[in-house]
């Protein structure tokens, strides 16, 4: 076997787990702090990190914290595989390796001046939360902001306390829906895309950002187009298998794009020729 000296970005940086919050049955939000707290991690909304559990493995996870607070790194993780389960078992005082941040950002600057529509499905709200923080902090620079959030059931909604807080902010509306209601649920029932025709926004000046399962994004884009939002004002965040995060391992390709460096956030008209095509 051959070995070589590899500088970053191949080698993970050590981060300590500061706090863990349980969001749902299987989803946890971790607050991480770098080994030397002075070196935070500056990132843009939409970017992701490769999170490494010592000896177990590495997975790409989007950053879900506030870009204005780079001293704390926040990730929301759903325990579905070996590595994500190991991440979700971590307790304060535990540690993780982190490589990143990688990938493209949500078009927050470009959305200034117009209305903003955020459409999230399930844990797809996590990559959009940094956008919410930025929109709230710079409220005056944007038009109306609508967050449309759908989950399978009320207990599978993430960031519930924050959703309630965001709802109270002026000019910021939160529309939630669940596929399957539970006792005590008085909100909308149905898929998140059914909310799109109901929301007030000016499609000519609006920017839409969509994140969720691919099938949900497909229908969300269709509904947004029906409302008259042009393709180049719709942005989606893609998920693919990733091993390196820097465009060298080849796993995340979709058509000519590497999701790790040309994405994960794509302008819809750019990814359209390959989006929704079976097994691309």
């Amino acid at each position: 076997m051959v070995s070589a000296r590899f500088p970053e970005p191949m080698v993970p940086r050590l981060f300590a787990v500061r706090r863990v919050r349980r969001e749902t049955e299987d989803t946890f939000t971790l607050e991480l702090q770098p080994e030397s707290p002075s070196e935070g991690m500056a990132f843009a909304a939409g970017q992701f990190n490769m999170l490494y559990v010592f000896g177990v493995g590495e997975v790409p996870i989007s950053i879900s914290g506030d870009p204005e607070k780079p001293e704390i790194l926040v990730h929301t993780v759903r325990a579905v595989g070996t590595v994500t389960k190991a991440i979700c078992r971590l307790k304060p005082g535990g540690f993780l390796g982190v490589r990143g941040p990688f990938g493209t950002r949500w078009p927050v600057e470009e959305a200034m001046g117009g209305d903003v529509v955020l459409v999230a499905g399930g844990i797809g709200l996590a990559p959009l939360r940094p956008v919410v923080y930025q929109l709230l902090a710079r409220r005056g620079e944007f038009g109306r902001v609508a967050l449309l959030y759908g989950a399978r059931s009320p207990k599978e909604m993430v960031y519930r306390r924050e959703l309630a807080r965001w709802e109270k902010r002026p000019g910021f509306t939160v529309h939630t829906t669940v596929d399957k209601p539970a006792e005590g649920w008085e909100g909308n029932v149905g898929v998140v895309t059914t909310l799109i025709p109901e929301v007030e926004f000016d499609p000519r000046e609006a920017v839409a950002m969509v994140c969720g399962p691919e099938i949900m994004m497909r229908f969300a884009v269709l509904e947004l187009q029906k409302r008259g939002v042009p393709e180049e004002k719709i942005f989606i965040s893609m998920e693919r298998n990733m091993k390196c995060g820097i465009g060298l391992c080849g796993h995340c390709q979709i058509g000519p794009y590497f999701v790790c460096k040309d994405g994960p956030v794509f302008r819809f008209d750019v990814i359209k020729p390959f989006f929704g095509k079976r097994e691309i």
Partner: protein, 400 residues
């Protein structure tokens, strides 16, 4: 004999008996010599010390799904096509340790790797394989993130190319404009010439380093007749090329035919074994493995060649994106002949034909392109528009 003035582009004559001198000079300069030799019933690259180890008297016979060594006798050192290995094995090894880490207090500390990669001199590199290295330079060195392992190995190499005197039956470098004459990426390029009792090389200097090495080897300026003889060798090889891949407009051909019936036909034959990706000199996909020792005190990350033909390759939660062999073959060919252009400004195919020879089903990349063109020309009903149907909520997806 007057001192030869050697510069880039100079052509000199090296007598075959002096080839060993070239080996000796390179070894004296600290290079590990890697060249063609017979191993495991193929002519492949391996470490050499002497010209005795070159495949003198051997040739290869290649066809779709077939490679045979054949004893033909004679004195030629380089009378064969190409074996399964390219320089990829040395510049981008199949298994690399990216880093090691030791558990330490409340965390871990990466242990730096200190072993320096060897300094390689490659002997007998074919022009197609030189183009493959040029492609890897774009893949690994031109982006925002370079691959440090490749960069370290790549920067030290010395290349002695050999122009092809024998057209392999499965290769098509003329179509890809990558051979049979070396034009880029070599320090010295040899053309082997056998005329009656004479056996010599016309050596072209490709770099200052090449000139410096050649100054230490007995040689003389090439005469016009010798230069012409060398030119004849490659011209004749080009004429005998076994296959043609029509590359004009290939990017559009692939992108416009993502739902072509050909993909179903080829999927009936493709075993999704990944052999083509292993022998391809440009395929660069890798995976990583994270392992620990038994006490869990040290961990390391290994990087291994991977193949887009495995089911695991595209796995995300819920299933593999490319579950069928049809989709995987389409991904491989579309990447190589279309997406590669968008990503790196060059095709990912150099026309070496290895994927044809080493495919156990004999699937032929040149034939695949022809099939896509033929059916396109014949015309076919337009693919039905994607009808999304009803969206019924967030489900556990069986893959996107």
């Amino acid at each position: 004999m007057a001192e030869l003035s050697l510069k880039i582009g100079s052509q000199a004559v090296l007598e075959s008996r002096d080839l060993q001198k070239l080996f000796d000079v390179l070894r004296a300069k600290g290079y590990r010599l890697i060249g063609p030799t017979v191993r495991n019933s193929v002519i492949t690259y391996d470490e050499l010390t002497s010209v005795e180890e070159l495949p003198v008297g051997w040739t290869d016979v290649q066809e779709g799904a077939a490679y045979r060594l054949k004893k033909v006798g004679g004195k030629a050192f380089f009378n064969y096509g190409i074996g399964p290995d390219s320089l990829k094995r040395f510049l981008y090894p199949p298994l690399v340790r990216l880093w090691r880490a030791r558990r330490k207090g409340d965390g871990f500390k990466p242990v730096e790797e200190t072993e320096a990669p060897p300094k390689y001199a490659f002997i007998g590199v074919r022009p197609c394989d030189l183009h493959a290295v040029a492609i890897h330079d774009r893949v690994f060195l031109s982006g925002e993130y370079a691959d440090p392992s490749y960069a370290l190995r790549r920067e030290k190499i010395f290349v002695v190319a050999v122009n092809c005197a024998k057209a392999g039956n499965t290769c098509f470098c003329v179509s890809m404009n990558t051979g049979p004459k070396a034009t880029v990426g070599f320090d010295l390029a040899l053309t082997e010439i056998l005329e009656g009792e004479r056996h010599y090389f016309v050596v072209e200097v490709g770099s200052e380093a090449g000139a410096a090495v050649l100054r230490e080897v007995p040689c003389r300026e090439a005469g016009e007749d010798e230069k012409a003889a060398a030119e004849r060798v490659v011209t004749e090889t080009a004429e005998k090329m076994g296959r043609v891949l029509e590359a004009a407009g290939i990017r559009e051909l692939l992108y416009e035919n993502l739902e072509h019936p050909f993909w179903d036909e080829v999927a009936e034959r493709c075993l999704a074994c990944g052999s083509c990706t292993m022998v391809c000199p440009t395929c660069f996909c890798t995976t990583v493995e994270d392992v620990t020792d038994l006490p869990g005190e040290t961990a390391e990350r290994l990087r291994r060649w991977d193949s887009c033909f495995t089911e695991d390759f595209s796995y995300i939660h819920g299933g593999s994106v490319r579950a069928s062999a049809r989709a995987r073959y389409r991904q491989w060919l579309t990447h190589k002949l279309a997406a590669w252009l968008d990503q790196f400004g060059t095709l990912g195919c150099v026309g070496c034909g290895r994927c044809i020879t080493w495919c156990p089903a004999g699937i032929d990349i040149a034939e695949a392109v022809r099939a896509l063109r033929r059916k396109e020309e014949k015309g076919r009903p337009p693919a039905p528009a994607e009808t999304p149907g009803e969206y019924s909520g967030i489900q556990e997806q069986p893959g996107p």
